[in-house]
Each structure stands twice: as structure tokens, then as C-alpha cells.
């Protein structure tokens, strides 16, 4: 790597001509988000190596983890744990294993207060044993300076931290390096995103990316037919027994 390249790679500088996405020499393929449309818009062509990323969505099950999949599964240094702090549901271990995360390296933390959540968030980041942290914090108690602190610690200790927040905070300022908003997932498995904040560029609205895997609406016609038949049979059975 030449001096310029390493300068660009390590220090967080970027060339003005790379503004708005053109991939630079410093781009690291291992960072790729897995979505070329998104890569083109991000500095270094992919997820930031060490930063806080905010994902704004109000619901679960819109493809929020599939969006982050490449960031979750990359392995950095000898880091070990993938940590979920206060997740909304139980992570289904076999599915995480299928995704490429060893379930023995998956840890869920259930803090009982906001203070404990923040403490464990920071503890996990600075431990040197974690590559990725996903967190769901209490929005009522979350303060700006706390976000700034998490961003700074993530940067310093090279951890990919993701914070899930509701859509309502879109207009509020945040120290996160990258802020994404998930608008919706269409029936043909496309995710519609907005980039609210990114380094080296402006806001991007309504970016459409194809989720590579997940359930598909196959043969829904046939399924519905099947269900309708079942319903009818059941009604008939009931009628007979009555």
C-alpha cells in the first residue's frame, strides 16, 4: 500500500473528488455491504470499519439484520463475540448459525436499566473481544453526549457498533457516522432505504436494494387456494359433527 493509500485508509481522510461515492484506491473489499448500490455511496466502499452506525426502523422483520449481514459476519483481529444488547426478540440460534455467525460467539446482554445498558455497551466496545455490537437502547433516556461517547469509543477500539432507533429521531442530530433509515420492504424482497447521514456526501433518499436471500412470495396463489380449501373442509366437518 502506498503512503497516500495508507493515509486514506487509516486516517479517515478522503479526497474531494471521491465525494459522492466513487470508489477510491483505499477501498477495502472486505468492508463491502454486499449491495453495490450502497457501496458506491459510502466512503471506502462499504461499512465503516470502526464507527457507530444508526439504523432507523420502527418494526422488526423488515430486513434490518439482512441489511447488516456482511458487517456482522466479517471477522476482525482475534475478536470473538458478536454482542446483542437488549434485543427486541430472541435471536434464533440456528438461523444465526446459517448466517455464518458461530452461535457460541453470540452473546445477548439484558441490562435492567439504561445506565447498565450504556455501561455494558462501552464495556463491550473497549474489551477488545468484540467485532460487532448491536444495541437497542431506551430512547427516552438516550442523550446526545452518550451517542458521541459511543461513537468515539467505537472509533478508538475499531468496533462496528450498530444502534437501532425509531424513525421519530430522524430529525434529531446524532454523532453516528452513518445513519440509515429503512423505509419499507416491498413484496418482491427489495429494501427501500434512505441515507440520512454519511461521510463524504449528502443525504440520499429512496435507495432500492435487492436483499439477496430471505423468504419469497412464491406460489402465494396456490397457498391461498390451499388455505381456502382447508377452511371449507373444516367448516364442512364442523357441520357434520353438529
Amino acid at each position: 500500500m502506498t503512503l497516500t493509500a495508507s493515509l486514506l485508509y487509516d486516517t479517515g481522510l478522503w479526497r474531494a473528488r471521491d465525494l459522492n461515492g466513487r470508489q477510491t484506491a483505499s477501498c477495502d473489499p472486505s468492508q463491502s455491504t454486499g449491495f453495490s448500490q450502497l457501496d458506491e455511496l459510502l466512503v471506502n466502499g462499504g461499512w465503516p470499519r470502526a464507527a457507530l452506525v444508526e439504523v432507523l426502523c420502527d418494526r422488526y422483520g423488515v430486513g434490518e439484520l439482512r441489511l447488516l449481514a456482511s458487517g456482522l459476519t466479517r471477522s476482525v483481529r482475534d475478536a470473538y463475540w458478536t454482542v446483542l444488547i437488549n434485543p427486541p426478540c430472541v435471536p434464533y440460534a440456528p438461523a444465526f448459525q446459517a448466517l455464518g455467525i458461530n452461535v457460541h460467539e453470540l452473546m445477548v446482554v439484558h441490562p435492567s436499566t439504561h445506565q447498565e445498558a450504556l455501561w455494558s455497551f462501552e464495556e463491550v466496545i473497549v474489551s477488545g473481544a468484540t467485532q460487532t455490537v448491536l444495541a437497542w437502547l431506551s430512547e427516552n433516556d438516550l442523550q446526545d453526549k452518550q451517542l458521541r461517547r459511543i461513537q468515539a469509543k467505537s472509533k478508538e477500539h475499531e468496533v462496528f457498533s450498530v444502534l437501532f432507533r425509531p424513525l421519530s429521531v430522524e430529525q434529531l442530530p446524532s454523532a453516528a457516522e452513518l445513519r440509515l433509515k429503512i423505509e419499507r420492504q416491498t413484496i418482491d424482497r427489495k429494501l427501500v432505504l434512505s441515507i440520512i447521514k454519511r461521510r463524504g456526501g449528502w443525504r440520499v433518499a429512496d435507495l432500492e436494494i435487492d436483499l439477496p436471500w430471505g423468504p419469497t412470495a412464491t406460489d402465494s396463489q396456490r397457498t391461498r387456494q390451499l388455505l381456502a380449501d382447508w377452511e371449507r373442509t373444516r367448516r364442512d366437518m364442523k357441520a357434520v359433527t353438529v
Binding site: C89, A93, A95, E123, S127
Partner: protein, 477 residues
């Protein structure tokens, strides 16, 4: 076999640990039923003899300090000294209330020979406040006799088997009968017969000895010379550490109590090091004078033995503990220890432990200490078709069983709802399915048809229909 007999002539006095007396050489005695049981040098120099009446002793030395004998303290001290002796050899026996036996042949090379061992034993016991007399011999009883006689033969550093016996027997011949464990009456009879050295007895034909003095003495002499084996049971080190520190002044608040705790942690660390153990779980207790207070446990993912590691996790745990306002007693017990493999105790040239706890384990310990045992969840996967039984929370971080097949990517949701949430069928828009999961007649039988559906929020759900109705069981995140 090469036996080291350690005699602690001043043990009864030393348990009282009176530094000022030792320093200034003031006369002091320990009495047992009003008779002098143990006297220090200045008391002896003043003419106080063992067995003398306390009144006689006080008339000789009016300023005499005396204590009634504390046998409990003595035996406790001996237990600790056994641990000290473990630093030298694993074969340690308590021979008497004031004597220890060490079998050293195996560890001679490590400690640089007989004379080095003698010097090191003396300084090691000296550091914990005990003077010892050491006897070296080929049999346990002879070594004890030599220790009591105080006369040391010159030993080569690494004696051979036959050489040990030769030197031992030679020294035994010249040893006075006063140093043997004989009844005073027997000793007197020997003296009347003109026998003063062990050599005199050894020469007497055994059947003559048996006729006059009985079986017991003959047996004893045979064991003394090594004609008959003399088995001693080696003490097993205690694998449980339990120490209490009673403070003279009460400590207030968490900062102050840390100091005695750290002291205990240091003692524990030394104990662990001696036995090559690491602690996995321990219990601290902080108590008031009345005995109430708080006890809390601290767990470690990997066996630890360094003071700093133990105290770091303990400090975090303490943040969530309510301690009594004034503490008089601090207690530390180990609940679970495990042997350290060689890899944990490799040391670099500066004597620092090379392999410290890995960050991943340290993180677990820290989080558990602060948030509690139930705040962390880890998982393992099981070979079962039923979604509820295909995974399990666990605290064992073993490697994954590779034989378990995981579902195809995207076939199963990443988020699971525990328990499944009941919904109305009308809220779901089925997009694919069904997949029948019917299994488990032996425990929790399930008959379910799983579908992928989108609910009214456009969320992709994994739902099923069974006899009871429709349920959402997960989200495709």
C-alpha cells in the same frame, strides 16, 4: 528415600507472635497446667527448665511473660506450615504436634542439593516466624531424632541411595538416646545399663531387646535403622480456601473495605500458586461485629490466580452489593477451583505470567460481575426440528457440534418470539408455505403448519397454524 525431619522447638511460643519479646529477648514461657511447657532462650538462660512450676519460674524471673498453651492455635499453625512445606515436596506428613516430615529425594535436584534445601527451609520458615531444627536421614524416625538432637552430619549435595543409608546409620550410632521417642522409664533403664547412644542399642541382638523391653521398642528401633519400613501418610492439601480477617478497627464504606479484601486476595493468590490452582468461583463476606452483613459470589470464566484479576472482577461485583456500614470481619472462601494446565502458568524471564485471561473471557466475567448471572445469555444449537427445541441457552462455550445441520439461509427467521404470539388470521397475508413440522411425540408434541406471511405493517413473519389457531413465531429481520 531421603527424609527431612523438621522440629519446631518454639512453636508453642511462636503462635503468640510477640514481636516485642522476640526483639528484645525478654524471657517468656508457655505453660501447660501451671508447668513450663516451652521457654525461650532468655528464659532458659535465667535458669527456667521445662516442666518447672510456674511459681518457681516466676521466682527466678519476676518480669516473666507467660501464656497458657493454646493447642488449637498450634494445630492451625501446623496446617499452614504443611502448606508452606508443600513448596518443597508433595510428601509432607505431620509427625508430631511440633514436627514435620518431608520426603525430599525427588525434589533435591530442583532445589540444588541437601545443603541448599536446609538453608532454604530455614529461611522460608524464618519468614513466617518459626525457627526450625532440621535432621536429614534415611528413615523418617531417624530424621526426627536428628532434628531434636540438633547435631547435623555433613551431607554431600546429591547423596546416592547406599550413601544415604551409610551416613544415616553412622550418625544414628552417635545420637544420644535422649533424642528418641522413649518413655522416661525406659530411658532410665538404658542409662542404668550404661547405654547412652543409639549405637549401643542397635548392637544388641533383637531378640534380647524384645525380651527385655517388649515388642514396641524393638519395632521402633527397627524403623529407626531402616530394617523395617515405616509408612507415613502424606497430608493431602486442602483444595478449599477459607480465610477470615478480623479487623481491629472497623472499616467504613467500599473504598476502605477494599484494603483488607486485597490482603485476603493476596493470601489466596499465594495459596493458589502453591497448589497450581486457579479459582473459578469465590465468595466474599463482609460482616459487622454482630455477624450480620453481606456475602456475594464472584465467578470467573477461566481459572484465575492473579490478585489483580481477582480484584478487578470483585470491584465490579461490589458496585451492586449493599455492604454493612461498619465492617469488622472480611471473609473469603473458594467455591470452585480447577487445576491450571501448564499453559496458564508459563512465565517469562521477568517472572510474569505470560498467558493471562483472554479478553473474551474477561468481558464475560466483567459483565456477569456487574449485571448479574442472569443478564447474559449464550446459546447452543440442538438437533431438533421443533423451533423451540432447536436451540438452548447455555453457559458452556464448547465448540459447535458439526453434525447438526443448520437450516438453509433465509429459510428460518432471525428473530424468534418466545412464546409465539397469537394473532387473528385476517391480519396475515400469506405469501408462502405451508411447511409442516410434526415432531416430538415423546415430550412436547407439535403439529404445526408454518407459513411465511406479511402482516399489516408489511413485516415478514413466520407464523404457524395449529389446533389452537394462528400464531406468529418469528420475524425475518
Amino acid at each position: 528415600m531421603l527424609w527431612f525431619g523438621l522440629h519446631l522447638p518454639f512453636l508453642a511460643l511462636e503462635v503468640f507472635e510477640q514481636r516485642e519479646i522476640k526483639d528484645q529477648g525478654l524471657p517468656a514461657v508457655v505453660t501447660d497446667t501451671q508447668q513450663v511447657f516451652c521457654a525461650n532462650e532468655s528464659a532458659r538462660a535465667a535458669g527456667i527448665r521445662l516442666g518447672a512450676n510456674l511459681a518457681t519460674a516466676r521466682s527466678l524471673v519476676p518480669e516473666l511473660t507467660h501464656h497458657p498453651r493454646n493447642q488449637e492455635a498450634e494445630s492451625q499453625r501446623m496446617e499452614r506450615l504443611v502448606m508452606t512445606a508443600y513448596e518443597f515436596t508433595p510428601y509432607v506428613s505431620v509427625a508430631d504436634f511440633d514436627a514435620l516430615l518431608l520426603e525430599m529425594e525427588g525434589s533435591l535436584k530442583l532445589f540444588g542439593g541437601v545443603n541448599h534445601v536446609r538453608r532454604r527451609l530455614r529461611s522460608r520458615f524464618g519468614r513466617v516466624g518459626h525457627r526450625i531444627a532440621i535432621g536429614v536421614a534415611h528413615t523418617p524416625r531417624a530424621s526426627l531424632a536428628f532434628a531434636k538432637s540438633g547435631a547435623g552430619a555433613t551431607w554431600p549435595d546429591f547423596p546416592e541411595g547406599s550413601e544415604i543409608e551409610r551416613i544415616g546409620l553412622q550418625q544414628l550410632d552417635a545420637t544420644s538416646l535422649d533424642c528418641l521417642e522413649l518413655e522416661p522409664k525406659v530411658r532410665e533403664r538404658f542409662a542404668n545399663m550404661g547405654m547412652r547412644k543409639v549405637g549401643d542399642i542397635v548392637q544388641v541382638p533383637r531378640h534380647e531387646l524384645r525380651k527385655r523391653f517388649g515388642n514396641e521398642l524393638t519395632e521402633y528401633v527397627a524403623q529407626l535403622t531402616g530394617e523395617r519400613v515405616d509408612p507415613w501418610e502424606a497430608e493431602q492439601p486442602l483444595e478449599v480456601f477459607s480465610e477470615r480477617l478480623h479487623l481491629i478497627d472497623p472499616v467504613r464504606g467500599k473504598d476502605e473495605v477494599l484494603e483488607p479484601m486485597e490482603h485476603l486476595a493476596k493470601v489466596l493468590s499465594k495459596w493458589l500458586g502453591r497448589l497450581n490452582l486457579g479459582v473459578r468461583r469465590l465468595r466474599w463476606g463482609v460482616y459487622t461485629f454482630e455477624g450480620d452483613g453481606a456475602a456475594f459470589e464472584v465467578g470467573f470464566e477461566q481459572p484465575r490466580h492473579e490478585v489483580s484479576d481477582i480484584m478487578a472482577i470483585t470491584g465490579l461485583r461490589m458496585e451492586t452489593v449493599d455492604l454493612p456500614g461498619e465492617a469488622m470481619t472480611v471473609a473469603l472462601d473458594t467455591l470452585r477451583t480447577s487445576h491450571l494446565g501448564l499453559k496458564w502458568v508459563e512465565r517469562d524471564v521477568l517472572g510474569q505470567t505470560l498467558t493471562r485471561a483472554t479478553p473474551s473471557h474477561e468481558l464475560l466475567d466483567r459483565l456477569t460481575a456487574r449485571l448479574g448471572d442472569t443478564a447474559l445469555q449464550r446459546f447452543c444449537i440442538l438437533d431438533d426440528h421443533r423451533p423451540e427445541f432447536a436451540w438452548m441457552p447455555t453457559d458452556q462455550a464448547d465448540a459447535r457440534d458439526a453434525s447438526i445441520t443448520v437450516p438453509e439461509l433465509g429459510q428460518r427467521p432471525l428473530w424468534l418470539l418466545e412464546p409465539p404470539m397469537r394473532v387473528r388470521a385476517g391480519h396475515l397475508h400469506i405469501v408462502s408455505g405451508p411447511e409442516r413440522i410434526q415432531c416430538g411425540w415423546w415430550d412436547h408434541e407439535q403439529h404445526r403448519d408454518y407459513f411465511v406471511a406479511r402482516d399489516r405493517d408489511e413485516t415478514w413473519c413466520w407464523c404457524f397454524r395449529d389446533m389452537k389457531g394462528w400464531f406468529v413465531h418469528g420475524y425475518f429481520a
